[in-house]
Symmetry: C2
Subunit: 175 residues, 2 copies
Amino acid sequence: MATDVLVAEPGATLATIASAAGVSRTTLHSHYPTRQALLRAVAERAMRVCAEAISGAAEGGGDVLARVVAALVPVGAHLAFLWRNPSFDHDPELGARWLEIEGELRDVLEVAREEGSLSADLPDWWSVHALFALVYVASENIFLGRLAPLDAPGLVLATLTSRRDAIPARIGRPR
Amino acid sequence: MATDVLVAEPGATLATIASAAGVSRTTLHSHYPTRQALLRAVAERAMRVCAEAISGAAEGGGDVLARVVAALVPVGAHLAFLWRNPSFDHDPELGARWLEIEGELRDVLEVAREEGSLSADLPDWWSVHALFALVYVASENIFLGRLAPLDAPGLVLATLTSRRDAIPARIGRPR
DNA sequence: AGCATTCTGAACATGAGTGTTCAGGATCGA
DNA sequence: TCGATCCTGAACACTCATGTTCAGAATGCT
């Protein structure tokens, strides 16, 4: 998928992207007339993936916070793409779309607060940003091989909520 | 300063950077033969700034954690530059230098743990990454005008340590 | 087999950023 | 005032990604 290449190398050539996608550059151009169009399409897809992860976790009862974190960690690469791509910084449309996603996550966190799994002291917008940032860092460390995928959600949860029970036994420090 | 331009627009032209720095492109080339050389120089400077913030905060007794967070927030732009610039991802030298900086922060956090201001449950490397990520997010929100600079350290501290007293009264939610 | 659609490789034009050179101007200390 | 040093603007060649075009091959449907 084009996302993978663009995450690894944001400045990748269209030729590189095309060959990674298994098509010719000409075909790529026929689908996405310009580079900008391709980037936007990938960005929109990345946002959709994130949004689906969030809304998927929102359904069902129980520990919503744990579910949303666990759902977001695997899509960390998409987060990285959106996050690190400078060309989206000043794009109003994508910015608005992202605000929507932040809103969805904010709703989820609101439920988590009612459940008591998230401290009610911090402003909600901050919790949203902190969550995204921690998930991103976790997925980056997974990518670098420093963190086991199954341990990541626990670390993020523990940091975000100071719930000791969330810390994976494998990596927790001796108490 | 070149950093400011490069943070705002990582792909900025040498002409843009030069004019922002108040010199001609020719002069810029005389100082830094290639674009790569310039980027490296800015990166090294950014790392030095971060390192100095950390080591500066390490001196003196009392709440080390609060001091290091407060010292790092203002250099968030440098963090952003290092963080978001793809060309550093595979640079062994810069990577090694950054590991040193992480080590310095890890030492500071070790002291903070002994002081009792930081939970001893999480792995130290994770605390380092989480701290950087939260500081980055805070400084980004400062840049966007959503967060008052003086409130930022409190938010980061509160998230990292669940110390309720660190939450700025201005932005804390009603309890 | 016939037809339509899609993909492909190659070629080409274009534009933009980069790096180089150089002659002349500005600055500053002796 | 002289000389050294640094800065400047302009011009130039070069590289490279991009976008376009097109004739032909491949695929798939009827």
